[in-house]
Symmetry: C4
Subunit: 193 residues, 4 copies
Amino acid sequence: MNKNRLEAFSDGVLAIIITIMVLEFKVPSDTTFEAVIKLSHKFLSYILSFIYVGIYWNNHHHLIHSAKNVNGKILWANLHLLFWLSLIPFATAWIGEHHFASFPMMLYGIVLLMNALAYFILQKLILNDQGKDSALSKAIGKDYKGKASVVLYLIAVFMTKYSIEVSGSIYILVALIWLIPDRRIERTFNENK
Amino acid sequence: MNKNRLEAFSDGVLAIIITIMVLEFKVPSDTTFEAVIKLSHKFLSYILSFIYVGIYWNNHHHLIHSAKNVNGKILWANLHLLFWLSLIPFATAWIGEHHFASFPMMLYGIVLLMNALAYFILQKLILNDQGKDSALSKAIGKDYKGKASVVLYLIAVFMTKYSIEVSGSIYILVALIWLIPDRRIERTFNENK
Amino acid sequence: MNKNRLEAFSDGVLAIIITIMVLEFKVPSDTTFEAVIKLSHKFLSYILSFIYVGIYWNNHHHLIHSAKNVNGKILWANLHLLFWLSLIPFATAWIGEHHFASFPMMLYGIVLLMNALAYFILQKLILNDQGKDSALSKAIGKDYKGKASVVLYLIAVFMTKYSIEVSGSIYILVALIWLIPDRRIERTFNENK
Amino acid sequence: MNKNRLEAFSDGVLAIIITIMVLEFKVPSDTTFEAVIKLSHKFLSYILSFIYVGIYWNNHHHLIHSAKNVNGKILWANLHLLFWLSLIPFATAWIGEHHFASFPMMLYGIVLLMNALAYFILQKLILNDQGKDSALSKAIGKDYKGKASVVLYLIAVFMTKYSIEVSGSIYILVALIWLIPDRRIERTFNENK
């Protein structure tokens, strides 16, 4: 019961976050092909952030699904995660508006990093509640993916000063790590345990 | 369970998409009848897009309802559909703001086309999961409506260069195909199988 | 199942409609008491529309709750109602921004009227589906409240040309009719049948 | 059933309220570190209001969860609470935009006060419905926290004329009272009964 409403509220917030990013696409003042081309940076940043929020929604779903019950700490760790997720539209708009300029790209990386940490905290609290032998604990394993993401974000944030191409590639890479080979990698990780 | 949350999240996103289009109706600076008349293009484009999102919500509902279970692929195909649906408010605002100008009308058609393709992919993945003899498979049949929509969208997109009246009529026609005679046509399709 | 998702989607749209009205409260450029006073017309129109959307949510809830099943017609009548409800924020912003000027007040009344008619259609379709002896049919009775609302809206719309005080009072009156004495009047109506 | 839809609707409104505050973070026109620093007031006010809405969502959840059934009065008391909660984004934007200026800080406090009173009314109505010996009644006890909050808000509102530091500290203090030591204090309160 408790858990259902946590899911429903999180779904609501995530649905709004993923959709308000689209409000950044202001209607162009002219009606040419160039007007659309000018939006290409915003469009690319929107796609990337859409995928990130999608990944979080997906993982969040599995995480909460596996939680037996929800206590006050988990509830606030969840709100903490939603807080950082809610900053993604702002960071996305900033990098899109200013064509992936160095400092906005750094902030974008910091927001992604904080999201990863907030997710890690939430995961930790749910794991603590369940014990080491739970199915969730085994599925997550040593959480190489989560740890690798944090390291990659840190590198990307540092690299924004020197090359936004490298930083941007890392943001895309982390998304792909979570998006595409999900199961295979997870299985490999589990075997490496 | 999994399925319910997919529905809930999709409902949330669809509810936001259908409602934020209304934010394009900026409060007129005067209080005359003419001020409302000036909004007529936006109003017409809003009605059309409202109906389109309504149709997608309706069909999406039936589609997910008939799905037995939801795997990772279906989940991402669903997010892919939501992505293209989320661009409808932008395309709607553009054609409304610029009185159905040629290029925005083309983009509107491309967005509708991408939505149709995204829906087709989602449908395909759910059908693959269910087998050829499922009730869903029989209900969809050869999917003449889906295929006809894609062809009509392509014609409309091409025609925007020559006549926005023709393109606009096709957009309305496709909506009517899905909206009005739903059952009768479906039965005919089923008999033609 | 079907019904639940109709409710969930309608709840989502209603929740957004009731909340986006608040986006009209633009942050004042100064920090004085007068800045808040200038918002008073917007505030009053927001309160009235908040109550109206609240009434619709409440009645919609009872109506759908009593529906046995949901067919295609009911689904589209529901979307039709949501369409007119979605115009309330625009009409509210217009009357608030322009201090209840005559023409915006007329449009506000027309939107309320269309909502009443859309609700009437939805109610009719659900009643048709249930038969005359259903509990819902008895609860609604001869629907004096619904019919009186339509007549009052028509008078208010006509009166905007001559006195926005009269029109405004009628809008408030109709809200009070639905808001305050709900049960007592309903019982009286039932006895008058 | 009734209760579930009240929860779902409230969740929807709360999810939107907590998320639209983020729309106040307008994309800066430059891409410097200073641009982010300029947003710091908005960021601080966002954090505080995010926590407040989180607290209300949390408490609202427990309150409605413990309610046996929902009548018309409870339903409208709930809408009344949602109304005042919906003003939090406006008040938050005002204090953030104008760097915690005196009068906006007063209005922020008044909005928090009205929320506390609206919550108190909702709680009272649910308690009346349940009887004095209910679990909810015992859990709330003499509601020292609720009463202390109201007194603290009143002091803070009064103090905005003299020191926004004091008022701001009180707003943070009340949030902490509800946020951090929830259970311990509640137990103490229960023992003091």
